[in-house]
Amino acid sequence: MIEGADNAWLMMSSALVLLMTLPALGFFYAGLVQAKNVLSVFAQCVAMAGVASLIWFVAGYSLAFGGTAPFIGDLHELFLSALTRGAVHPGTHVSETAFIMFQMTFAVITPALIIGAYVERIRFAAVLMFSVLWLLIVYVPVVHWVWGGGWLETRGVLDFAGGLVVHVTAGVSALVVAWQLGPRRGFPEHVQPPHAPWMVVAGAAMLWVGWFGFNAGSALSSGGDAAMAMLATHLAAATATLVWIVIEWVKFGKPSLIGAVTGTIAGLATITPASGYVGPEGAVLLGLFGGSVCYVAVLVVKRGLKIDDSLDVLGVHGVGGALGTLLLPFAAVMGAGGLPSALHGGVDAQFLIQLLGVGIVSIWSAAASYGIVKLTDAVVGLRVSRDDEIQGLDFASHGESAYHGA
């Protein structure tokens, strides 16, 4: 039976998750690039909302949530043509329509996160082709494995709201794309500072708010579990924000605003997989780790690997998501608010299962993304010309400019 309250909360959460892509992620990423590439970032986000939604409608949802075969769903729900208004999503009290909608917003934001890796130099056609293939080959199968009754779910992997499904897949794939695409002109010595930090913080703020839908919505109900997930999400974000402020303050004598909100996002990515299994104390712990580990990860990718994952998708999302997935068992047993009963065979056993999940999902994301990038390059070409890169994608790819003389 459909419970109106659960359904209302899931619809609201869907609105919040769409807000995360449009405009929040658009703001967040667009503020970090140069003024000549602002619109291209937004265009990529908008196009992603279009493309991913249609993929989801045509086949994505069916392949992800149709049936419980171990590796991939079935084709019974192509074009959602058999969907009725009264259908209830199995095991919940929400309507199937609401569930599809909610999941569709996840299918939009996940490939959109990868945008951060390829900004300022990719061809628009490559964005579209890569994203379509990536959704079908990486995202949809992983959703099926972890949430759709597939083999990782059977093994007991826990991922409440997408640490693996969303952040690890996007983060790892981002690194592969950035590596194949090559760095932006001038990387790393002459990279330009973010052209509009105010835009970054506006985006981060709306991501924070939207994340309540992402995590607490994943409870698929509107009771105490959802609210605990929201509380945990908020506390992890708050903690990681302060962690990053403190690190920069100590290290540079000045805490930067972009640093602070990067901490916020790191904390949010880290709590995501665990948000339904921890209480307030576990959440703060995850915030502490999320803030500090991602800080180091960002530097390692840039300076160690020398890969221009331009807006740190791996360092923030990939590492955060993996970290939260791995720490989940430990955090779940802290305080009365945790959910130790969700662990399969105790903390250590669950940790090994989680490790398996992170390993498999990372490898699959990396390998498949590599193939997709190569194919995309062969078919439409990955990178714009040097002239277009210098001129900026706003005009080169979209024929517009972001700012017309204030």
Partner: protein, 112 residues
Amino acid sequence: MKFIIAIIQPHRLEAVREALQAIQINGMTVTEVRGYGRQGGHKEIYRGAEYAISFVPKLKLEIAVAENRVEEVVTTISSAARTGHVGDGKIFLLDLENVMRVRTGEADEAAL
């Protein structure tokens, strides 16, 4: 006539404007510019890494003045703009052959 170009610290604008007004110099044109000089730039932090900003914000004032007032004006600007720190700026003096007021077509000093 002379055409004075002064590069100053942005926050000195009001002081300079008032000082010039006090000596009845009531026209100028101001542009936001970025300067590069001994002052050097500064470092900004971005996600744990520092990068260099070579240019610092300055204002450029352009003021056309009659020959006999040049010295007075230059002195006024420089004392109102001075803070004593590196980066206080420069005053350039160019020769101005002619000037015309668009509204009336007046030329030469009458147009100032």
